[in-house]
Symmetry: C2
Subunit: 365 residues, 2 copies
């Protein structure tokens, strides 16, 4: 992946949506395919909270990406046809500038001196990147999970920068249940003594907090139905100590928590998590109560949800679909019966391949 | 309430379901109404994890109980007609013997020396209590939440001790999602430095662990729909420090966590929580795969679930209903559209009053 990673330099004095600025910021990004002559075939993928720019492999010897089945030659997001861009989010810890990057003024990591981060900042810097690549207008913007809200932030702040939208497992704002989950994740990290107001190091990593945060998150990524199939009651272990790991689901949570703990920077996690809870498309309504998407010039949209998604329940996709129709966009709403809950877009390849492939093909006509 | 609290002495050498025994154990219990001459009007209420014996007030000056709207003169569980018994669960910290009670052999609290507690133990000691009151057979056993599983434990171990069953917001076993929630609650308590392997005191209480456990639990008690109505996005606060309480749902979680922290004993919580995850009615099937309730002599049952219950989803009530019909019990399944999730039986008074009232009236014919 490393040799395909590209760097975009954000202009100095980049102003954040909620105030504050940074100098010398960068976005790490990757591209697939070629921009055509009139620059009309660009698709921007905006990612979920913990994903990076590596959506798919660039060559056979490359490592697989987080949306490998979706992006590539002949795949639903066909890189023979489309010029695909995916950046690591501003504020993340996957190559782009974030709270754990060095502040050029001090040489030390920003930590809590990093400006308050909003999804609008992730969207705005992604637009700057695309413009730097010569893209005057995106054919489409594609966002699963946090990326779906970031896509709306993009459209609300750049109403005619994309003609089409694929919005997956997301909504116009986080419902209180999702905010509660994320609030407890943040609390688990902040509580860890090793977090130390952001002054942790590799040797004093807030492991327990990160693990616990991941476990809480895991409650919301799949569904009760999928877990019923995955964890037979008969597989109980004899725990090593009283109240040690005994139930199959406990081993699963522990395994995923251990995998995650050093994969993401704790303070970046806090910033991105809060940005999700801050985002509220409804706040763009002027006057309050009118359709907040009023100014958005979108030709069409595909809005996908899964019946089993606890984090972004289908009522949110219905709400967005309704608002899109109201502004005259040709919106199509699909609620899948995927049992994988919020993660369905990563796992239920058969359903999502067809939906995205068909929609993109039609959008190109 | 105190002057209505009665004490039953469990016979010495009481043997626990998983092994181990205690001497000098007691159950704290309350009764309402009068047992009739042929002892045929007794109803036993088995409680949820954190409830006590005080289901309802005994006089106007008494404090309200946890199921006040349901139990009393002229109410759905009409104490003019029924002799109602409710005990604090064995292992709990509400008057009955549990891990925080003194071990008569040492004079010190049992802590982890308390035998492994199962719902079977709660059920078996409740039956001993009822027998001591002269009840040869219960008219009915009523169990919401954990109490619903305890009621099944009672029937499986005393197949003809109850003629009727009201089973609410529960199931034949905990689904993995519920076990995961409870596992994280236990982990939060065990992680708290003050927990100290059970050697905490009032002055060194594992407050943080208990608060966090309660917050995790709160995720599962209501529903996303109810929370959408309860927490308007516009009510955000300015937090006192970065990542402090800001979103309405965060204030709600904090408030309930603070209320709970000293209301329940941490080690009792661990024991009861694990007992819920251990319970598995399916394990009673002989041979494996047959109907585990085969031996149960139940005339009828009312099985109630709520569409929005995350902790005991409706598939569990459907499963139980199916098994009850198969053994020839007249089972009635009601799935309510209550938006209050798992807590519906405590909050949706109108739906639950009618259901329980109608069922009990018919059962008396």
């Amino acid at each position: 992946m490393a040799r395909y990673l590209k760097i975009y330099s954000i202009p100095d004095s980049y102003q954040f949506h909620r105030g504050g600025q940074i100098d010398g910021g960068i976005l790490a990004y990757e591209t697939w395919g070629e921009l055509n002559q009139d620059g009309s075939n660009a698709l921007l993928i905006l990612t979920g909270l913990s994903a990076d720019s590596h959506a798919a492999r660039h060559s056979e010897s490359d490592t697989a990406g987080w949306w490998e089945y979706m992006v590539g030659s002949g795949k639903a997001i066909d890189t023979d046809q489309w010029y695909v861009i995916c950046a690591s989010s501003l504020g993340s810890c996957k190559g782009s500038t974030g709270p754990c990057s060095p502040n050029p003024k001090t040489g030390q990591a920003y930590r809590f001196d990093f400006p308050d981060l909003c999804l609008e900042d992730i969207a705005n810097t992604a637009v700057l990147l695309c413009q730097s690549l010569g893209i005057k207008q995106l054919h489409g913007v594609i966002g699963p999970s946090m990326g779906g809200m970031t896509a709306l932030a993009l459209l609300l702040n750049h109403p005619d920068y994309a003609r089409h939208l694929i919005h997956i497992a997301s909504g116009m704002a986080s419902p209180p249940f999702s905010t509660a989950i994320r609030s407890l994740q943040r609390e688990a990290i902040l509580k860890d003594e090793n977090f130390n107001m952001g002054f942790y190091s590799h040797n004093s990593w807030p492991e327990e907090g990160m693990k616990f945060a991941r476990k809480i998150g895991m409650l919301s990524y799949r569904s009760a139905i999928e877990w019923n199939e995955r964890f037979p009651r008969s597989l109980k272990k004899v725990p090593e100590h009283p109240f040690g790991i005994e139930f199959p689901v406990e081993g699963y949570l522990e395994h995923h928590a251990n995998q995650f703990v050093h994969q993401f920077d704790p303070i970046s996690y806090l910033y991105l998590s809060r940005a999700m809870d801050w985002f509220d498309a409804h706040a763009y309504a002027k006057p309050r109560g009118t359709n907040p998407l009023k100014s958005v010039k979108l030709v069409s949209a595909l809005v996908i949800g899964a019946e089993t998604d606890l984090l972004f329940p289908v009522m949110l996709q219905r709400e967005l679909h309704h608002h899109l129709l109201e502004i005259g966009a040709q919106s199509e709403l699909v609620i899948t019966d995927s049992i994988q809950g919020h993660d369905a877009f990563l796992v239920d390849q058969i359903s999502f391949d067809v939906l995205v492939r068909t929609y993109l093909t039609q959008s190109a006509v």
